[in-house]
Amino acid sequence: MTGEYILRVEDIHKKFNDREILRGISFNVKKGATIVFIGPSGTGKSTLLRCINQLTEPDRGKVFLDDEEITGCGSRISGYRQRIGMVFQNFNLFDHLTAVENVEIAPIKVRKMKKEEAHAKAMEELHRVGMADWAHHYPAELSGGQAQRVSIARCLAMDPEVILFDEPTSALDPELTREVLEVMKDLARSGMTMLVVSHEMGFARSVATEIIFMEGGRIVEQGSPLEIMNNPKHPRTREFLGRIEHT
């Protein structure tokens, strides 16, 4: 089994106070795969992503990146986080930096890249997400869709092996959602390994290699988009999909 997967998640448990958010989540991710997590709100999808890059420390369970265990690795976690990018629902762009500075700061400070080299890399990534013309604008001057595209560029500038998307379009209107999804589709086609928490079923249908339906901190059902969307086996999956199709 090892070697075949770029990311392995084994039996992750997480409690906040007495509330059990994750109750033993396990799955494997092949290189280049796009896994879309769906499920009702408060079911632990975002917590799961944060447990993968250890922004939230799981109570139990293991995460492996390329067969290296990253759970409980102490200060080495910063090194692993460079290899696992993350895109947030609220973009979390650094408010005091322009778009290009947002993208180049991590390569400069973390990877110790020369400023000119990092700037060129940042411009290349901004170009890739269609934001090169906005390089010298501050986050407050960007629309939600533009800000999210910059945050994707910021993530790409670190050349991650996996990107975690935590509801990247939830804060956007349909028009802005479309421009962000286009960038994500291009990324998926380029072979980037992506784990996406999203209710964008059109995106899931066209790009996902696997859909995982979660509820109550557990994986209820997982399978290919065709299996999950056309022929869901579990009644809860059917009920959930029926509900979001009518909204």
Partner: protein, 226 residues
């Protein structure tokens, strides 16, 4: 006419106090900044013992009148440590230590006002907590703190007059000396007050310029208008 001749005679001596008053104020402001920021970081990110120690420091320096602190350091702490510094150095140190206690609370509020997602995003990019604090949190916290921090200048400027009590030859000391020689109380004190007002106005203009220099679109907060 007599007032005019007194002012002409003593004016240069009085104006000479400006450099001392500004020296006290700027040294104290700088010391307060250099100490206040680490104190604020310690209060937000430090361990429980560190936070407790800083709380005691802040409580002590904010809890005592400046005059008592000056006497404690001038007659007690400095001699006990075998340090033979001038009254100016002791005055600037006390004002700076006291200012640090106040400034630390301004910066602490600034740090805590930075959205939590900023730290999360920095960590997710592979920054260590310290790198995130240095590159992301401090630059934002300082901008947020600037309006509150701008009050420190007039505060320290006016507080510097207390150094009169330990014999620093600043504006207030010189004013009192001139009054004791000329017996022209009101004109001399009014001249002194006008100098303080001018220094206050000038300093706030500089702070306002700094605020404009560091302003960022969408980032709230403006320094107090002079």
């Amino acid at each position: 006419m007599e007032i005019l001749s007194v002012l002409l005679e003593w004016g240069p001596y009085l104006l000479g106090g400006i450099a001392i008053t500004l020296g006290l104020t700027i040294s104290a402001l700088a010391l307060g900044f250099c100490l206040g920021l680490p104190l604020a970081l310690g209060q937000v990110y430090g361990s429980r013992p560190v936070r407790s120690l800083i709380a005691v420091y802040v409580w002590f320096f904010r809890g005592l009148p400046t005059l008592i602190l000056l006497f404690l350091f001038y007659f007690g702490v400095f001699p006990a440590l075998g340090l033979d510094f001038s009254a100016f150095v002791i005055g600037a140190t006390v004002l700076g230590l006291r200012g640090a206690a106040y400034q630390s609370q301004i910066f602490r509020a600034g740090i805590q006002s930075v959205a939590e997602g900023q730290m999360t995003a920095a960590l997710s990019l592979g920054m260590t907590r310290w790198e995130a604090v240095q590159c992301i949190i401090i630059p934002q916290a300082l901008r947020i703190s600037l309006p509150g921090w701008s009050n420190e200048y007039p505060e320290l400027l006016t507080d510097s007059a207390v150094c009169y009590a330990i014999g620093v030859a600043e504006l207030m000391t010189r004013t009192s000396q001139i009054v004791s020689v000329t017996y022209m109380t009101m004109p001399i004190y009014i001249a002194c007050a006008l100098i303080f007002i001018a220094l206050n106005y000038g300093g706030m203009r500089v702070i306002r310029k700094a605020e404009e220099r560091f302003a960022i679109p969408g980032f709230g907060g403006k320094a107090v208008q002079p």
